[in-house]
């Protein structure tokens, strides 16, 4: 199992039954593959689809049915379309149970930076600022460290995406919960020690007693749940 699959299968356990969920571009989209059995989730794409599904076979794509990354998707029975103003009313208005987003940095206060690296080509925030400001729960799915440096840091050095504290950070090494009282180490990845995690974390991390090993959603090839059905 690679790091991305591990992160996606842990994040999938955060999905609640019969809720609206937004998955960011990249690693977060993998979460849709691991919806646990019995959990029914409607995946929202901010460009205006609730209930998108897997990409159709080659040559059968609909040019008007794409996700927020511009990739072709399908739509499950019960799907609906929305214009952008309504789509973001759902996001900002607290109707989205959870968003899963990639991260560049998370700091000790639980603030996320994920839209801009000064000195590089500016892409723009797209929908990220609205998602972080508005979703009921924000789960960050990212590598614990990059290019040798920790991504969990004392204070953001990159521009913040929002002032709000994110709900949970899931990495290839650990599950970290930002609280009003600092970051707490909740779980460790299989085979990873608390010491290894602390050594690759750039912010104070509270360890409360025994830190359990991460649970993971089952592999879908073993016959798992489905999106909205």
């Amino acid at each position: 199992m690679d790091a991305k699959e591990l992160i996606a299968r842990r994040v999938a356990l955060e999905l609640n039954d019969w809720t609206l969920v937004n998955l960011g571009i990249g690693l977060p989209t993998l979460v849709a593959r691991y919806v646990p059995p019995g959990i029914r989730v409607a995946f929202q794409s901010e460009n205006g689809i609730i209930g998108f599904g897997a990409r159709p076979p080659e040559g059968m794509e609909d040019p008007a049915l794409v996700d927020a990354g511009g990739g072709f998707v399908g739509a499950v029975p019960g799907a609906c379309s929305l214009d952008s103003a309504t789509s973001f009313a759902l996001i900002r208005g607290g109707h989205l149970d959870m968003t899963v987003l990639g991260g560049l940095q998370v700091d000790a206060r639980g603030r996320l930076a994920n839209w801009m690296v000064p000195g590089t080509m500016v892409a723009g925030m797209g929908g990220a600022m609205d998602l972080v400001a508005g979703a009921r729960r924000v789960v960050v799915a990212m590598q614990h460290a990059a290019r040798g440096g920790p991504k969990i840091v004392r204070e953001l050095t990159l521009p913040a995406t929002a002032a709000r504290r994110v709900t949970l950070v899931v990495t290839d090494l650990a599950v970290v919960e930002p609280t009003g009282d600092g970051l707490v180490l909740r779980e460790r990845a299989p085979g990873v020690t608390v010491e290894q995690i602390l050594a690759t974390t750039g912010a104070p991390l509270r360890v409360e007693g025994e830190v359990p090993e991460m649970r993971l959603a089952p592999d879908p090839s073993a016959g798992a749940g489905q999106a909205l059905r």
Partner: protein, 217 residues
């Protein structure tokens, strides 16, 4: 019955330096034929208000490639290296706006509202120079409304009254933009007789549409 115009006529209505809202999300739901006509006319100095500038060679990316654009107001330009390069070279000025804030500023412009109070962007660079208003213990940014000279809309069906429908994710910014411009030009995939679109299926009333681009030949 109202009559449709050619895409080339639509492009002639739009003067150099005009402020345009253009529907679409990565060129899905973008009026490509009007854009092609603007490129062919050699339009210059346009301001484009849109979600993004697509990719080179597609949708709004064609206007960027052809040097038609002086200013962009968008949520994302990361898929178009040409926009990024022209921004660094000073050829195009870019204002980045969070996507939901962009939609709501356009909606406010079309709905006669004086602005929007949004929690999005509080505590970030987006808040720089903006008024922060606290209501019931929560902070909001005051964001001004957006309007344009022209809205370029891509619809699925249009009828002879210029009522419009949209399909799936091709709706995106089109319905709100159709309310927020002095002149609304709609490019449909299909033109159908009056009555073929049930009243409840109409998403933009023909009362808002000034010009309809004729069918594809």
């Amino acid at each position: 019955m109202r009559s449709a115009i050619k895409a080339t006529e639509a492009a002639r209505l739009i003067p150099d330096g005009a402020r345009l809202m253009i529907g679409g999300f990565l060129a899905v739901g973008t009026p490509e034929r009007v854009i092609d006509a603007l490129v062919a006319r050699g339009a210059r100095g346009l301001t484009v208000i849109a979600n993004d500038t697509a990719r080179p060679g597609t949708g709004i990316g064609k206007l960027i490639d052809a040097g038609c654009v002086a200013r962009v107001v968008a949520s994302h330009i990361g898929t178009n290296p040409a926009t990024q390069r022209k921004m660094l070279e000073g050829e195009i000025e870019v204002e980045l706006v969070p996507q939901g804030t962009l939609a709501e500023r356009i909606r406010a412009g079309g709905a006669g509202l004086g602005g929007v109070l949004t929690p999005t962007g509080v505590g970030t660079v987006v808040a720089e120079g903006k008024r922060v208003i606290e209501l019931d213990g929560r902070e909001y940014l005051l964001e001004p409304p957006l309007r344009a000279d022209f809205a370029l809309i891509r619809a699925h069906e249009a009828d002879y009254f210029f009522n419009l429908t949209y399909r799936l994710a091709a709706a995106n910014f089109n319905p709100v933009m159709a309310l927020a411009a002095e002149c609304v030009i709609a490019e449909p995939d299909e033109i159908v007789p009056l009555g073929a679109i049930p009243p409840d299926a109409v998403r933009t009333s023909g009362a808002l549409v000034h010009h309809l681009v004729e069918r594809r030949h």
